[in-house]
């Protein structure tokens, strides 16, 4: 056989396999043979090829019997038609000799090492068959001191093999640049900051370095790499709206450690400080473990049946005496779809009122409404995967590196690589530091600024005429209104120079694919809905909607804002966003729930507080919502809580609000549920003893309330 450029085949140990374009030898072999077909040390699934350990070397020939060349497989592309030999005598010897050199400067105390049996060096050393180290004793770094200064991160550089995986993870994944190699050659070593301790450094404790480290040189206090577990459970983090997949190690129903799986599209082996380390609440002694009923002013432990009976009795009394509208429920954007669905169903179908609300309506309802008006539906138009296909990002009113760390890190990577990044924010956020354009507008002037961008896109002739003609309505009058605006006036209002806005607008409009992201800096304004509509207009006028890598993306605050709204936890819309006040639609709900469903206007959260203070609201059921802590005007909220005849609080801990409760029900955390949230995954771990998933007691409760469950939900 002769070398043929056109072939899409290459040979591994004599057998032909199909090639993918641009594939490295290592990925080619892994894909066609097995993930561990080639030993590696410096390679990691979420890092760029680096080529330092050379353990992955293979022999490659351009013809079947031609001369062979030794090449590191991790960074060498496969030549079509080439012959790759993975385990020749020469290669076996090379790998063994490299590992022998590594072991000349590595402690040989595997049995007492934290990562014994979980160490990549140990595995590779065993695999290449090291029996002894032939070199005479020489210089080494075995006496390097441990760094145990940090509450989570640990470092023991005597175990370091200089593979740079930690440095690369800190750079390529988190973008924090806290770690680097220092010095050179044999004495080079990892440093944090200006060679300070972990604690003194700017480390954000994301743990990416520890997860990347193949030995125990960098680890964490939970010894995540090596903990012995009864089972590993895959779940979805609920700390923010990103939806990182997590792999939880469980021993005796206790969470021992958490790692981020590499095969999760959302987080690809990464997560943040909270996702990785903030799990000690789960087994915390302060967790509420049994229902509590207030007796003689004191919350006293009770059985579940006692609690259910108590609640049912009180609710029936109140409903009879004051009517169903004296009862309200506040659901939670931190809970699952199923729980939220049941909560609104309980309030509507069992109690018979539309007094159901949750924070999803408060924080991102302008997104829902604005995008519904613009596009017909109010949800993100993309998955995070689309970032790979976009050429420009517009981030407005959001600080994702703080609020959505894993997505934030991806956006930061985008900006750090110099790809056009426009940040519209009064604050110099972390992303703004790296952005191409930072439009530091005056707070509350989003509408004016977006109008400026639209104006310049039109005056520069950068509209997508075909998209506008085929896919939009009313453009002519929209254009006339935009062009009638006075840019000097708007520049004065926003405090941003016209030229800067013009350049940013051009960058957004000229990018082949542009995506926008917005957060609460957009929605939590009186003009939030209009701002969302303008963001949508920007996308439409430039044709940036409807393809991979383009679109409009709200960055949701809590993990299930989307799901809570979808499930109907808001007074004016039932499940599926159908109008709760429309008699025709109501018939469908009634037919489905097989009972009378109210049609009267329900109370929003602030109205509930007013109604309680005015004596109209008598009972409030809170599911995972600490209103005393989080809602504005604390004194007023407290007063509202105190006025109630019945306050039911479902919680993990005794929150500020729980202190005012008549009944407290212990809740299950996200580790203890098996239901869904609307992001990218499913949650699935065991429940702690004595707590119940919110849905379980919803079902229990409906029976006590005299409502009979229909099939399914």
């Amino acid at each position: 056989m002769t070398y043929n450029k056109l072939t899409t085949t290459a040979y591994i140990n004599g057998l032909p396999y199909d090639l993918l374009a641009g594939e490295t030898i290592l990925s080619f072999i892994k894909r066609n043979k097995s993930r561990d077909a080639i030993p590696t040390l410096c390679d990691a699934p979420n890092l760029e090829p680096f080529g330092s350990c050379r353990v992955c070397s293979v022999e490659v020939g351009l013809t079947e019997d031609g001369p062979l060349k030794t090449q590191a497989s991790c960074h060498t592309p496969v030549m079509p038609g080439s012959y790759i030999y993975t385990d020749t005598e020469k290669i076996k010897k090379l790998r063994k000799n490299i590992i022998e050199l590594v072991l000349t400067d590595h402690p040989l105390d595997c049995l007492t090492c934290e990562v014994n049996n979980n160490c990549e060096l140990q595995t590779v050393a065993a695999r290449v068959g090291i029996r002894d180290v032939r070199y005479p004793n020489g210089k080494n770094h075995l006496d390097r001191q441990k760094d145990l200064s940090h509450p989570y991160m640990t470092m023991d550089l005597s175990k370091c093999i200089n593979c740079y995986r930690c440095v690369r993870a800190c750079d390529e994944v988190q973008g924090e640049l806290v770690l680097s190699m220092s010095g050179r050659g044999f004495d080079s070593r990892i440093v944090k900051g200006n060679d300070v301790t972990f604690f003194e450094s700017d480390c954000v404790s994301c743990g990416a370095c520890a997860q990347a480290c193949p030995t125990s040189a960098i680890s964490d206090v939970f010894e995540s790499k090596s903990v012995v577990y009864d089972k590993k459970v895959r779940t979805v983090c609920t700390y923010c709206g990103v939806g990182c997949n997590l792999e939880v190690s469980v021993v005796n129903d206790k969470v021992k450690s958490i790692r981020a799986p590499y095969d999760a599209e959302v987080n690809q082996g990464h997560t943040c400080l909270k996702g990785r380390f903030a799990f000690s609440f789960y087994n915390h002694p302060d967790r509420i473990t049994s229902p509590l009923i207030r007796k003689d002013g004191v919350l006293t432990p009770a059985t579940w049946d006692e609690a259910y009976d108590f609640i049912a009795k009180k609710l029936i009394e109140i409903k009879h005496q004051y009517g169903p509208d004296a009862i309200a429920g506040i659901s939670s954007a931190r809970c699952t779809n199923e729980e939220n669905y049941l909560m609104q169903k309980f309030i509507r179908a069992v109690i018979g009122t539309n007094n159901i609300d949750c924070c999803a309506r408060v924080c991102h309802s302008p997104t829902a409404l604005g995008m519904q008006r613009a596009f017909g539906t109010g949800a993100a138009t993309n998955s995070i995967e689309d970032l790979k296909h976009t050429d420009c990002i517009l981030v407005i009113g959001a600080n994702p590196t703080d609020a959505h760390p894993v997505t934030g890190a991806k956006l930061k990577q985008f900006a750090m690589k110099g790809k056009p990044t426009i940040v519209v924010d009064p604050r110099r956020t972390e992303l703004a530091r790296y952005a191409t354009y930072h439009l530091a507008l005056k707070p509350g002037t989003n509408v004016a600024l977006l109008n400026m961008m639209l104006y310049y896109i039109i005056t520069e002739g950068l509209e997508d005429v075909r998209f506008i003609e085929n896919r939009t309505e009313g453009y002519t009058s929209f254009k006339d209104q935009i062009l009638a605006l006075n840019m000097d006036e708007l520049a004065e209002i926003t405090g941003v120079e016209k030229e800067l806005v013009r350049l940013a607008a051009i960058a957004y409009a000229k990018a082949p694919n542009a995506m926008s992201f917005h957060g609460l800096g957009v929605t939590e304004h009186t003009q939030g809905t209009f701002t969302v509509m303008l963001i949508s207009d920007l996308a439409m006028i430039t044709g940036n909607i409807g393809r991979p890598g383009v679109g409009v993306n709200p960055l949701r605050g809590q993990n299930n804002v989307q799901g809570a709204a979808d499930m109907g936890c808001q007074p004016h819309q039932g499940a599926g966003y159908l109008n709760a006040y429309d008699p025709e639609i109501n018939k469908q709900y009634e037919a489905f729930y097989n009972t009378v469903i109210p049609i009267g206007k329900g109370l929003k959260i602030p109205e509930m507080f007013d109604a309680s203070i005015n004596g109209k609201l008598k009972a409030l059921w809170l599911m995972g919502e600490d209103v005393v802590q989080t809602d504005p005007n604390t004194q007023k909220v407290i007063k509202a809580m105190e006025q109630l005849d019945l306050l039911v609080v479902q919680e993990l801990f005794m929150t500020e609000t729980a202190n005012y409760a008549t009944v407290v029900l212990p809740g299950a955390s996200f580790f203890g549920k098996e239901w869904h949230i609307y992001q990218w995954g499913k949650k699935n771990t065991e429940s702690p003893k004595s707590s119940r998933t919110t849905g379980r007691y919803k079902s229990g409760r409906t029976d006590h309330s005299g409502y009979h469950e229909c099939d399914g939900f």
Partner: protein, 549 residues
């Protein structure tokens, strides 16, 4: 190397260069202070660790360099010439030990006895005038012979700049493709050691998409024993600059970067003067000669790291990153300086371009032998009767170089280390079998490299020489790849132990180590060290066998 850091560094453009700033910050005390580092870290959006990592890499930036005032050359030629003990003794009388540093090869291999003081190099008998040098800033220039054997291409004298650059203005009237095809015809190959055809690189860079491209001149002539690039920079600077201008015109690059080693202070100032001259003649800047072509030069002073001669390490160095060797692909012509398409070429290679443009590619190709076209500069060290830089046609018999040009040896020599520390160690009896070209050397198991000649006299133990090579590699290894970082030190330790105790080296282990370095290393530093060591083991086995079991 970090793509993020490459980009962040490039954001500031070349005018405000991070690596430059670090050098400036180190000027007064020998290392930048914390305040300066903090400022630069914020300005360039680097992490503190990144800047710390960079500073700690370089001999002339790192903390240990603080307070150093005078530097003694520890290059191979000064070592075999045995001049440095005397230099050190005399310097020690005037300076505290903490004030004395080392520099690896000041390029004064023709006179030896070299040292560096207050931005100037001294050699030969200068050490005898040390007190005058200190008190009166007495300047003593060095002397060496420069001759051509065959066609002078690089050494040919040129007229004054205004006239000389008419050639460049003529080039601007032709299409870049025409100029590129002349270079293809010429067969000009890289003179830095690898011998890669320049037309291929320029063509690849020209084809790479992007508005921003760079021509980088690798003037980090770090090979101990070599000083031919220094000769060009100090005596033919305009041949080099014109070569870069033409390369820029061919590729569409608007910036030429000259990365010149700190050990060559005179080269830096002469090149700077030549660039100023071009500015005055309006041969740089916007729309040169009304052609629409824009080009500017940036001189970057290196800070003492041999690895920066490796092209990808050099690019990271300019970016202010740690100069660690990058993996390829991407090649510099695709993603080089600041992630932009870049051509990196050696001084001598670029300096050949004006000749090719003036006389045509064929005239260049007619000189030389086979695939080694044109001429080559060779640097002969102080063991020759007529040390100096000679330009010879490729394919010239080595006997001519030695006897007719070098004038024979001052004292008996048993081997010559040709082509830098990673070149072959050629025993004298093999010398007459060689001709001076890439092929002859590689076919005989040696390497032409940069064609530097360091003589090893009969009296100098070969074991000490290969120990020196391991030590040199261990000191200069960037530390990125495992074989070089660990293997160079372990090799040195074995030789040190064998020469100072009754320890005998296991020959199988040494062979394994050499093979691991050769086929396992990421770049030519670790990969090249085995060649001279294997040459020594082959040709000087009698001398070496006592150290092995």
């Amino acid at each position: 190397m970090s793509k993020n850091l490459s980009h962040l560094s490039g954001r500031q453009g070349l005018e405000n260069n991070l690596f430059d700033q670090l050098g400036i910050a180190a000027r007064s005390s020998g290392t930048p202070d914390a305040e300066a580092l903090d400022k630069l870290q914020h300005e360039f959006l680097f992490g503190k660790a990144n800047i710390y990592g960079t500073v700690s890499f370089y001999d002339f930036l790192k903390e240990e360099n603080k307070g150093k005032r005078i530097f003694i050359c520890n290059g191979s030629s000064c070592m075999t010439a045995d001049t440095q003990d005397n230099v050190k003794n005399k310097i020690s009388k005037e300076f505290e030990p903490s004030e004395i540093g080392e520099m690896c090869c000041l390029g004064r291999c023709h006179e030896n006895g070299s040292f560096h003081y207050e931005g100037r190099n001294y050699s030969g008998n200068s050490i005898d005038h040390l007190s005058a040098i200190i008190s009166e800033h007495k300047f003593i220039s060095d002397q060496y012979t420069t001759e051509s054997y065959g066609t002078p291409i690089v050494t040919v004298p040129y007229p004054d700049a205004a006239e000389y650059y008419q050639l460049f203005l003529e080039c601007l009237k032709k299409s870049p493709d025409d100029l590129l095809s002349e270079l293809k015809i010429s067969g000009l190959r890289g003179r830095g050691g690898a011998g890669f055809p320049i037309a291929f690189k320029l063509g690849a860079c020209r084809e790479s998409p992007g508005d921003t491209k760079f021509i980088v001149c690798n003037a980090d002539e770090g090979d101990p024993g070599a000083y031919s690039d220094r000769y060009i920079m100090e005596h033919r600077p305009h041949a080099l600059l014109m070569g870069m201008l033409i390369a820029g015109y061919i590729t569409g690059a608007e910036w030429g970067v000259l990365y010149i080693r700190a050990e060559y202070p005179e080269s830096i100032s002469i090149i700077a003067d030549a660039v100023t001259q071009l500015e005055l003649l309006k041969l740089t800047g916007k729309n040169i000669g009304g052609s629409g072509f824009n080009f500017n030069f940036k001189i970057i002073k290196a800070q003492g790291a041999y690895i920066c001669g490796e092209e990808t390490a050099l690019l990271s160095s300019i970016e202010g990153q740690r100069p660690e060797v990058r993996v390829r692909p991407p090649f510099p012509t695709q993603q080089g300086l600041f992630n932009k398409p870049t051509v990196v070429n050696n001084v001598e290679t670029l300096s050949c371009i004006p000749f090719v443009m003036q006389k045509g590619g064929q005239s260049f190709a007619d000189i030389g032998k086979g695939k080694s076209t044109g001429t080559k500069l060779v640097s002969l060290d102080g063991y020759f009767n007529r040390p100096g830089v000679y330009e010879v046609d490729m394919g010239t018999p080595m006997a001519v170089v030695f006897n007719d040009l070098g004038g024979g040896f001052k004292e008996p020599v048993k081997a010559i280390h040709i082509g830098g520390p990673l070149g072959g160690l050629v025993p004298l009896h093999k010398m007459t079998e060689l001709t001076l070209d890439f092929e002859s050397f590689s076919q005989n198991g040696f390497l032409l490299g940069h064609a530097s000649f360091v003589c090893i006299p009969d009296s100098f133990p070969i074991v000490e020489y290969i120990k020196h090579l391991f030590k040199f590699t261990a000191h200069e290894s960037c530390g990125k790849c495992f074989p070089c970082r660990l293997g160079s030190t372990r090799g040195y330790e074995m030789l040190e132990k064998a020469t100072t105790t009754d320890y005998k080296i296991d020959m199988t282990l040494m062979t394994d180590l050499l093979e691991t370095l050769e086929i396992g290393s990421l770049c030519a530093l670790g990969g090249g060290l085995p060649l001279p060591v294997k040459n020594a083991l082959q040709y000087f086995s009698d001398e070496l066998k006592m150290y092995f079991k």
